[in-house]
């Protein structure tokens, strides 16, 4: 049967949503492969007032990333996150983006982050060691969420007792509970969560102005761009993006990595036997699983992509998950290849907006995987309890694991 003869899509392009629960548990792979094959640029009405276009080909995605004059990064998500301001540096366009990003380059550089390795390792060990003797644990809640959260909130100096509420609020922003059933209500809830977060960080900013510390907010209070200090809004914007970006993505990146280790014993054994493979393992997990299925752009200049006429104001989803499985870019894209080289996946983005926390994410994941496999090289998972939760980064609800203890 030719492509044209296929009667129906697995998921209709017009109803495609990157937040669709139907796509969980790996079903997204077949769906995006089919969409990319049959309609590499398509329109969906699943979100946004006028719907949105979806780019699926690696080449088109790369082009969109590298041309911010055509594709604005604001709003960066579909549907929009419900914020009343742009989402800080991640939604800034040139020429504003560069100085905003440059402000934090010293704190986020590879060298600075690498110097934190021992500290990260101490945190990882402090979370792993109490768990290991038990022989079982739900790893997402007990380890993977706590680890990056502690790292990122140390940077911001938030009191530990505030962390559960912050996690809850950012979870609402990132996963929009009830989106499918009642989008308007989900939007209201997200807006309320955003408002509470704005207030929280504004109050924190006021405290830091009175009593500066060595945290990121205090540093930003002193920062200037071209001789102009940052406004309160701008400082709060940094917190609004860096906390969820640093926490959610790493927590769920780790969840996907450990699910892969559990699913693929041969890969696990190879990695556990040679830690020099851990970085390549991480990159292949990010390509293969695409924990963030994609981010959005807004068209700023009328143009055409593969016959689709995109107009200023049109919303576009850059479907990284599809680009990461594009056979024109990756050999045998649906095969998990620990030794894949090169592996220019899209999961950190590319171009000027490449993930600012890339070094932090890579180091966090590497340290956690090494320290875990050093102690627990073999483990099983109760698969009935493992569920994916769609979001801007797809979460794994739980990863209940069991392993043999020495006793």
């Amino acid at each position: 049967m030719s492509k044209e003869d296929k009667p129906t899509f697995q998921v209709s392009p017009e109803s495609f949503s990157p937040m669709d629960p139907q796509l969980t548990n790996g079903r997204w792979v077949d769906v995006v492969n089919e969409l990319r094959d049959r309609c590499p640029v398509f329109h969906s009405s699943a979100h946004e007032e006028d719907g949105f276009y979806v780019l699926t080909k690696y080449e088109d995605l790369r082009h969109a990333h590298l041309h911010p004059e055509i594709y604005s990064s604001c709003p960066i998500t579909i549907p929009p996150a419900g914020l009343t301001r742009p989402w800080g540096v991640i939604e800034a366009d040139p020429p504003l983006h560069k100085p905003l990003r440059a402000l934090l380059n010293p704190q986020m550089s590879k060298k600075t982050i690498a110097a934190q390795e021992e500290h990260y390792r101490e945190i990882a060990i402090s979370l792993i060691e109490p768990v290991v003797p038990r022989g079982e644990a739900e790893l997402v809640a007990q380890v993977f969420k706590k680890f990056p959260l502690q790292i990122i909130l140390e940077l911001f100096g938030t009191p530990e007792e505030d962390n559960p509420r912050l996690v809850q609020l950012f979870h609402i922003l990132a996963h929009r509970p009830g989106e499918k059933e009642d989008p308007a209500r989900a939007q209201r809830i997200a807006a309320a969560a955003a408002q509470e977060l704005y207030q929280y960080f504004t109050q924190m900013l006021e405290k830091r102005r009175k009593e500066p510390g060595d945290d990121l907010i205090s540093i930003l209070c002193e920062a200037e761009i071209e001789g102009e200090p940052l406004t309160d809004y701008e400082i709060v914007d940094y917190a609004m993006i860096m906390v969820p970006a640093g926490f959610e993505t790493t927590a769920y990146g780790l969840s996907h990595a450990f699910r892969t280790l559990a699913r693929m014993p041969e890969v696990r054994r190879e990695v556990a036997g040679d830690f020099s493979l851990v970085p390549a393992f991480i990159e292949e997990v990010l390509r293969f699983e695409s924990p963030s299925k994609g981010l959005a752009r807004t068209v700023m200049v009328d143009h055409e992509v593969r016959g689709s006429k995109l107009k200023r104001g049109d919303r576009v989803l850059l479907l990284w998950a599809s680009g990461n499985r594009d056979p024109e870019q990756f050999d045998h894209p649906d095969r998990f290849d620990l030794h894949r080289k090169p592996n220019n996946h899209l999961s950190f983005g590319i171009g000027a907006h490449r993930c600012m926390g890339i070094h932090m994410a890579r180091l966090s994941m590497r340290v956690m995987i090494e320290e875990w496999l050093r102690r627990v090289p073999d483990f099983d998972v109760d698969w009935d309890a493992v569920q994916e939760i769609p979001g801007f980064t797809w979460a794994i609800s739980a990863l209940p694991a069991r392993w043999d203890t020495e006793e």
């Binding site: 009343t84 301001r85 020429p95 807004t298 200023r312 104001g313």
Partner: protein, 291 residues
């Protein structure tokens, strides 16, 4: 130079320059603000240094900086117009600076006297070259004398019948935009601080943040509007209550620059007026699909 539209119609925004509580211009906020407007497909272009107060109250250097910021933030094909008030000293320098900064055209704002307006129109026409010259509340006879004016922006629907230009646009000074639905006006120029009310439905989600940011230059006149917006927001659901909170906390952080208040674009409007705006914009196909 940012692009000049072939014809003037649809919705344009008079971009109120954001400044902080000390009256300091916030260039990065303007960048964000303009990009937000440019992402709304129904908005066809922006005006800077307009009658919100910038044109008359800010100095030449600051006006130039505002324009440069706006042009640098503007995507290709999205025009930025520089407003120049008739009657300011050294108007030739002002117009040249606007065009040098990359404005798509010059909008001459009304002045105190007919002579001021005539002088400004002639200067603008002389310097403009291929760029557009637009008149804002300038007498029809002055426009006729100058010739070649691309569009006229007027406050009152009564003036829509003017035939001195091919295109007549309305401001939001009267909020009586039903006239557009009946033919006549080609579009509207709305102050950015008013977008939230004028297009409460469709553009609202984009505009509210701009309202939050748009610390306007007219401190004495914002009270009624603030109250009205908050009341309107409270009439609806939780999302709008959030908006109301944003308004209370962030809207119109009053600047010290009260002297900048000249022609405040922010007016207290009632529900009836708001509905009229909605109907007019929808019927005029300026905001298709707006509820």
């Amino acid at each position: 130079m940012s692009d000049t539209p072939a014809a003037f119609h649809g919705l344009y925004v008079d971009l109120v320059a954001p400044c902080d509580s000390n009256g300091r211009f916030l260039s990065r906020e303007l960048h964000v603000h303009l990009r937000r407007m440019a992402r709304v497909k129904e908005i066809r272009g922006v005006v800077v240094n307009g009658p919100a107060g910038e044109a008359s109250a800010l100095d030449h250097e600051l006006r130039t900086k505002i324009l440069q910021t706006a042009v640098s933030a503007s995507p290709s094909g999205f025009p930025v117009f520089a407003a120049v008030p008739a009657g300011i000293p050294d108007i030739d320098r002002e117009i040249s600076a606007g065009l040098d900064a990359g404005a798509s055209g010059i909008i001459v704002l009304s002045g105190q006297t007919r002579e001021d307006e005539a002088r400004a129109m002639v200067a603008a026409k002389r310097a403009a070259g291929d760029a557009s010259v637009i008149a804002w509340n300038i007498s029809p006879d002055v426009i006729s004398e100058a010739g070649g004016v691309r569009a006229l922006i007027v406050d009152s629907p009564k003036e829509i019948t003017s035939t001195v230009t091919s295109s007549v646009m309305l401001t939001d000074r009267s909020f009586d935009l039903d006239a557009m639905a009946n033919g006549g006006a080609a579009g509207a120029v709305l102050a950015s601080a008013n977008i939230a009310e004028a297009v409460w439905g469709r553009v609202f989600r984009f505009a509210i943040a701009s309202v939050t940011e748009a610390r306007t230059l007219h401190s004495e006149r914002v009270g009624p509007l603030q109250q009205t917006l908050a009341e309107l927001a409270m009439q609806t659901d939780q999302q709008d209550r959030t908006v109301a909170a944003a308004i209370k906390h962030g809207l119109f952080t009053i600047t010290q620059n009260t002297s900048a208040a000249t022609l405040p674009p922010v007016l207290d409007i009632g529900e009836e007026a708001r509905q009229a705006v909605s109907r007019a914009l929808t019927a005029g196909r300026l905001m298709p699909g707006m509820s």
